[in-house]
């Protein structure tokens, strides 16, 4: 598969995503500069990586959402092609209207970097199809603006658009394990079609045993499966 990894000024998980896709998963991946107006020919999937695009100034993801490349991503998404947002990528996709809701300041008012448990649910997406519903993944978070807020979270859930929720080791959803005050412990959502999905935790940081966790790799393996099937 050929993955395009967007690169904005201030992106800083772009190298990490490239590392996991090319070195761990042994797939093709390349950066796409924010000033470009088109994605490379033959792009199978797009990843909007984490970081601090434009320093998170004004609002996380707000300025990057208006980059030239985002119009190309909109068209790409409209064709039902897979688009994954991670952390700042989630914020950018919300700000650009490709995903519902917004990410507000953590209730703790602090940057939170640690491991959390998230439960996979909702409709199957290109990034979770290979992960059994209800499975718990242990993934790192590292964000200051991760509190998911949207008009009607319940409705989102009913439509199967809630894909990851913060939970305890056993999969239980409690306030105690909600690291940022997100509505309904929401950690990741997708659009109605399911081809655009984003989450605050970092699967790319949990994809190698030497770093302690490798459950996150399933997200990328799932994507590979999806791309192979649909091509």
């Amino acid at each position: 598969m050929r993955v395009g990894i967007l690169r904005f000024p201030g992106s800083n998980c772009d190298d990490d995503t490239l590392h996991v896709l090319t070195r761990v998963l042994k797939e093709e991946a390349a950066f796409v500069w924010h000033k470009e107006s088109a994605l490379p020919k033959g792009t199978d999937a797009v990843v909007v990586p984490g970081g601090f695009s434009y320093g998170d100034y004004l609002r996380s993801g707000a300025i990057a959402a208006h980059s030239p490349i985002m119009d190309a991503v909109r068209t790409f998404a409209a064709q039902g092609k897979p688009v994954l947002g991670i952390c700042n990528g989630f914020q950018i996709l919300c700000e650009s209207g490709l995903l519902p809701g917004a990410l507000a300041r953590n209730v703790s008012l602090k940057f939170e970097c640690r491991h959390v448990n998230v439960r996979v649910e909702g409709k199957p997406t290109p990034f979770t199809a290979a992960i059994p519903t209800g499975q718990v993944l242990r993934l790192p978070i590292a964000h200051g603006d991760g509190r998911y807020v949207c008009e009607d979270a319940e409705a989102l859930g009913r439509r199967g658009q809630v894909v990851f929720r913060y939970c305890d080791a056993g999969g239980g959803i409690t306030d105690g394990v909600n690291p940022n005050g997100s509505q309904m412990n929401i950690a990741g959502v997708c659009n109605e079609a399911g081809n655009v999905m984003a989450l605050m935790p970092h699967p790319e940081r949990a994809s190698e045993a030497v770093l302690g966790e490798d459950g996150g790799l399933q997200v990328f393996e799932s994507l590979r499966m999806h791309v192979r099937r649909s091509s």
């Binding site: 000024p9 201030g10 800083n12 998980c13 190298d15 990490d16 590392h19 996991v20 070195r23 984490g50 970081g51 601090f52 434009y54 320093g55 998170d56 100034y57 602090k110 940057f111 939170e112 970097c113 640690r114 790192p140 590292a142 970092h202 790319e204 940081r205 994809s207 190698e208 030497v210 770093l211 302690g212």
Partner: protein
């Protein structure tokens, strides 16, 4: 508009130049009275911070060479060989005073500065550490300072995308009026891709790039002096430097991209302390050339800035590079791509002089080499009186608490010992997918670095300094700090390679301070020689005092080492029930002098610092590295503050799941309190599988390190001789101790 006030001896004084320094300046200028801008150059170049005038004659006693050293002190950062054609570039810097004035921005710009020191040499920063010292938690300003400093370090490092993988935090009365914020950065480069800060190649053009220049952080005293000469002085109040991590990130990527183009850059240096002044003077001097700058071409943020202000501005996120003649457009194109301001502001000359022009007029013309050479003082030294008296205090002569279990909990909850998670949770310690052992996981951080062929190797890094020991005995204290760093690395399986330091002291004009400084250097040099870890970079921070009260001597040590196979890294927490727990190393004395026990229980910093046996220290380091390499260890944790009791408790509760243990106290006729809380160096608590007990014991015998099996892991309790505590009680004390002081 360049109002150049006239320079007199008095103006010189206001700029911090003594009479003799003023004379020296006139001599260098062949008797000519300097222009106001020139005075600014001398003042900056001869400041303690830039010239090391009080410390140089001592620093030269440090070992700075060795098989791994590629570039020692003198460059922007130290460079060591880590094999495979790769080098590690690292340095530690203080940002104490700015952080006390404005904790968030002071700490943030401290991180920004040390990052630039590393990537200006061609290395990509891959890990940060930070060492912090604050006044007592009870002090009204402490909570505000801690919150601000930690948020600032995170706010900057997280945004640039460099993981903060470790550090060190202490609280003590001596830092109440003068906190310490020491930031460490480590970067990786190819051995043939190192860049130096030199203005080589006569005729080459000097490229300024990064942020615009504003009136940030211009020396306060000098401004007062200039004020009376200048109507617009109101707008010239020194302004606090504000960090812009976003611009830093662009600067980092743009700099590395410029460097990746063969032969484009001839030399480069970041604009740190004294901004354009030190970068231009140092670059010219290093190459034995001169430079001529047209200050009208410097990108400015504010109108009406004088030559003096432009040269002394400490605006952040700026670089000065020498571009190969004829390739200017190539360089500008790359900076355009990264949306950075850039301008060619001068050229390299043969004259050996730094010549500055503003409004077409020459406003400064000084010899680079002589300014860079700076001054050298041998200041008087005198041993402080109180130390003998303090040494006379015998901690065991003081009443010992009846309930030692409760004492264990009190010490675990002391913010110096308690878990620092409240701090490092605010730092991104996982970005760059290289963190093998992060904060809280071990005595040192271990990161993965990819070799050119993609295979992994490990680097270990740690900072430490027990300033109570340094206060009681600066010579022993410095030796102990180096030894603890080496021990911390060895506990994770890492072989120590080299050292950077950040020497925080009070006023060098006080003989007592200079005695402490000289003693520390003596200890530092001796330990680094014995352990084979040369000092490749460092920083001296004097005048850490308020109202004549100085801080404890605090020679912060940063140490870096190598672990060929990162999958062999060893953590500090017990891994499961049924493992054998053993103590490596001997406790020759009670060693409660300057201990956490003495401070927590009796509120005193007194007694004698532990005596370090460097051979024993080296033997333990070798043993630990060997055991880890043979994968014999399940866990290893060094004994430091709080002694055996704290080490055992941390092994039990710092893992994902708490695991108790049933341990006896080491044999010997020391009192129970000494066995529990004594801080004798060169000891570590390790655990291993029962079936490997014989191998481990044999290895220890071979290495000549005493080993005592204390017991087995397992159960919900930690038993230490007669002391028995549930892991819940231990966790409660240790995990909430830090946050509680900030409430």
């Amino acid at each position: 508009m360049n109002i150049e006030p006239e320079v007199t001896r008095e103006v010189g004084k206001a700029h911090g130049l003594s009479d003799s320094e003023y004379e020296e300046m006139l001599r260098i200028l062949d008797g000519r009275t300097p222009t106001f801008t020139e005075l600014g150059l001398f003042m900056s170049a001869w400041s303690e911070h830039c010239s090391y005038k009080s410390s140089r004659i001592h620093l030269r006693n440090l070992p700075t060479t060795g098989p791994v050293v590629v570039h020692g002190p003198g460059e922007n950062a130290g460079v060591i060989d880590i094999g495979d054609g790769q080098v590690a570039v690292f340095k530690m810097e203080s940002h104490n005073h700015p952080s006390f004035v404005e904790p968030y921005q002071g700490a943030a710009t401290g991180v920004g500065g040390i990052l630039r020191d590393v990537f200006t040499m061609g290395a990509r920063p891959v890990a940060n550490l930070n060492a912090l010292r604050f006044g007592p938690p009870s002090h009204p300003k402490t909570a505000y300072l801690v919150s601000g400093v930690v948020a600032g370090i995170g706010g900057y490092g997280n945004s640039v995308g460099v993981p903060t993988v470790g550090g060190d935090v202490y609280f003590d009365e001596c830092y109440a009026g003068n906190i310490l914020v020491n930031a460490f950065t480590l970067g990786i480069a190819n051995k043939d891709g190192i860049f130096l800060g030199q203005a080589a190649g006569v005729g080459n053009n000097l490229l300024y790039f990064g942020a615009k220049t504003g009136r940030d952080g211009i020396h306060g005293a000098s401004l007062l002096a200039s004020a009376e000469f200048d109507a617009t002085s109101d707008e010239k109040r020194p302004t606090v430097q504000v960090g812009d991590p976003f611009t830093e990130k662009l600067l980092l990527e743009a700099t590395l991209e410029l460097m990746s183009v063969k032969g484009l850059l001839v030399g480069i240096q970041d604009m740190g302390a004294a901004g354009l002044t030190s970068s231009s003077i140092e670059m010219a001097a290093r190459a034995g050339n001169g430079v001529e700058l047209d200050l009208d071409r410097v990108p400015r943020r504010e109108p009406g800035m004088t030559a003096y202000e432009i040269m002394l501005s400490e605006s952040q996120e700026r670089m000065l590079a020498v571009v190969e003649k004829g390739r200017e457009a190539e360089a500008l194109a790359i900076l355009e791509k990264w949306d950075l301001d850039a301008a060619f502001i001068g050229t390299v000359t043969t004259t050996g002089r730094v010549v500055l022009k503003a409004d077409g007029k020459v406003v400064a013309d000084v010899p680079a080499a002589q300014l860079a050479e700076g001054l050298k003082y041998d200041r008087p030294r005198k041993k402080p009186e109180d130390r003998e008296k303090l040494a006379g205090v015998d901690p065991l002569a003081l009443p010992v608490p009846g309930d030692l279990g409760a004492t264990v909990l009190r010490i675990l909850a002391s913010p110096n010992v308690a878990s620092k998670e409240w701090v490092y949770r605010q730092y991104d310690h996982m970005v760059r997918v290289g963190t093998v052992l992060g904060p809280g996981a071990a005595d040192a951080a271990v990161i993965r670095v990819l070799r050119p062929d993609g295979r992994p190797k490990g680097l270990g890094l740690v900072v430490d300094c027990n300033s109570r020991f340094c206060f009681l005995d600066p010579y022993e204290g410095a030796r102990l700090a180096v030894a603890e760093c080496a021990r911390n690395l060895a506990c994770t399986g890492v072989r120590p390679l080299a050292v950077t330091d950040c020497l925080n002291f009070a006023s060098p004009e006080r003989p007592e301070t200079m005695w402490e400084f000289a003693e520390s250097i003596r200890g530092l040099a001796e330990a680094c020689r014995a352990l084979g870890t040369p000092v490749v970079s460092g920083n001296v921070s004097f005048y850490n005092e308020t109202e004549g009260k100085g801080i404890y001597p605090t020679p912060m040590i940063g140490m870096v080492g190598l672990l060929e196979d990162p999958t062999k890294a060893v953590g500090q927490a017990f891994r499961g029930p049924g493992d054998v727990v053993a103590l490596l190393g001997a406790q020759p004395a009670a060693d409660l002098g300057g201990s956490e026990y003495l401070k927590v229980v009796h509120g005193q910093v007194a007694g004698r610092a532990p005596k370090l046996d460097l051979d024993a220290a080296k033997r333990l380091v070798e043993l630990l590295i060997g055991l880890a390499d043979r994968r014999l260890l399940r866990s290893a944790h060094d004994l430091s503050e709080g002694g055996l009791a704290v080490a055992a408790a941390e092994c039990a509760i710092s893992g994902a799941a708490a695991i108790g243990a049933e341990l006896k106290l080491p044999s010997g006729d020391l009192p129970e309190a000494a066995k529990l809380f004594g801080e004798s160096p060169s000891r570590a608590l390790v655990s291993f599988a029962p079936e490997q007990q014989q191998e481990v014991i044999e290895a220890a015998k071979q290495a000549g390190v005493p080993l005592q099996v204390l017991g087995k892991t397992g159960g919900g309790k930690l038993k230490l001789g007669d002391v028995e505590l549930t892991v819940e009680a231990l966790s409660e004390a240790w995990k909430t101790g830090f946050a509680r002081v900030l409430a």
